[in-house]
Symmetry: D2
Subunit: 170 residues, 4 copies
């Protein structure tokens, strides 16, 4: 059986934050995505890593959202699917921007992120990455977020800051 080609675009965010023991803070310095990927059994896909940026999404500009959308739309033509790791605070902004710029992409584009960094033993990063990597293989073309055991389709997705997750608004 032919393996699916998945483009994995990293943009930073909580999921990739690491701990600096000298300053005692969590920051976006090195990507831990490769460590996470190595901890998973990925039998169905070939992953192509695209390290686009490494930003706390609160620092993203309108140009960043457009840039992410354009790259995602482009990669969706080359691959069988695109997964985008993104800070949750502005994840919905990038998601809506993909729909505006790309419309329906050539293959599924699935965003994911985390509320608690991979470095924490109680992280949700592994669960969310697992879900995005699976969902991208079985969803029809479209723009989605996969996180916390649910898949939501853009447009119309927002972060519920109180619940710490994503929801559809009606």
């Amino acid at each position: 059986m032919k393996k699916k080609q998945i483009a994995l675009i990293s943009t930073g965010g909580t999921i990739e934050k690491t701990y600096d023991e000298l300053s005692g803070v969590l920051a976006n310095k090195v990507s831990v995505l490769d460590v996470m990927l190595a901890s998973l059994e990925l039998r169905g896909v070939v992953v192509q890593r695209v390290a686009l940026m490494n930003k706390d999404s609160l620092d993203m500009t309108a140009e960043d959202h457009t840039h992410i959308a354009e790259i995602a739309g482009h990669m969706a033509k080359l691959a069988d699917g695109v997964v985008i790791v993104h800070g949750t605070d502005r994840l919905a902004n990038s998601g809506e921007r993909v729909v505006e710029v790309v419309g329906t992409p050539a293959s599924p584009i699935v965003f994911t992120g985390a509320m608690r960094p991979y470095e924490l033993r109680s992280t949700d990063a592994i669960q969310n990455l697992t879900e995005a990597m699976l969902a991208v293989q079985i969803l029809p073309p479209g723009v989605y977020v996969a996180m916390h055991n649910q898949v939501l389709q853009f447009p119309g997705v927002v972060k519920d800051r109180t619940a710490g997750t994503f929801v559809k608004y009606s």
Copy 2:
């Protein structure tokens, strides 16, 4: 948004094996599924647990496979999807039996299992359960195994004992 009702049927297998420190062996004694479920963020579903049996699948009889198939087909009518945790050695036997007994079920039926018990720090149990719980929400009705980042549809799935995973035969 209405949450999906998912029936989670446990039958035993490696995924649920626990370590007995006095005898030094791994065995199917207590279900660790609840511990695994508690470690995940399950925002999209309401889980109904069905503790059907707790067997090493090598000990399953033809009657066990048929029993699993009948219960799965029945639960697929009542719920929005069914996840079945199963030993990998005979998982394909139960999967094929569901197709024979049920045909196309009323909602998706997704099998999963593990090659390394949850109690091991290098377990694949959490990844596989995460995948099954997500796949069951977005797949069309049918019978599948979700494991190791791939989804395969019955009939025609076998365990590749050398690779330690499932594959489609052609």
Copy 3:
């Protein structure tokens, strides 16, 4: 064999920091010491918990150091040994203060702490707590820090901020 009575005084510090997913920072809010203790097999001791304060040690005043010293000296008379969990930035200040206030205590007083919080998967908190809980049983009366697989005796201990550990100055 009679179990040793060990007083475990918690004062806060990195070892007890927990992650607040809404603000995205690590802070001293709830004690994770009980979780750590539950993860260890403590056959040789009976632990008496003394939750003295829960401070980042950078916020400790001269009065805090004296208060810790007095309580430690007092508990050393009542118990077979005292373990103090402390932020590493000012751990040496409290250690020196114990020597000034108490001299040679009635039973061993062992400080410990961590460079990386327990909540991180790469934490040194468990190792350091394990070492302190063992060292306090076999050291002669005195004031020590046990951390990173070494035991150093006060006075004359300082934090090496570059190496991220404690050393004796000569």
Copy 4:
């Protein structure tokens, strides 16, 4: 400060058992001691590894116990201390044999082991190795077992099979 030279003799046992996913059993095949050592911060010691044997201690012969005792006594002259990783079922046999063959060694000899393999997430292996590596630095010359937060001196130590730990008999 001069670091202590510690000889670390591995003989096998539960602590080093690894999981074979094809046969589904835990066995002594490769040493996981190096992985454990790498996960600890060892600032006080230089470790010299001696891979003596890799046996379930139930398979040890009288010759094995004598061989372990002779090597331990020899290494105690060359190093500042000796740690021996050993299966718990026959750990006490080797411990008593060291006392018979060596008497009081030139430096402390500390046995340790585990009831639950390192590969299990609920292992006691890391705790026990941490304790042995610390105890060997601060104990006077003698033969000991350090495990489960207690240090017991040979002769007169036995495994309590019901409690799953070591005790002194009187």
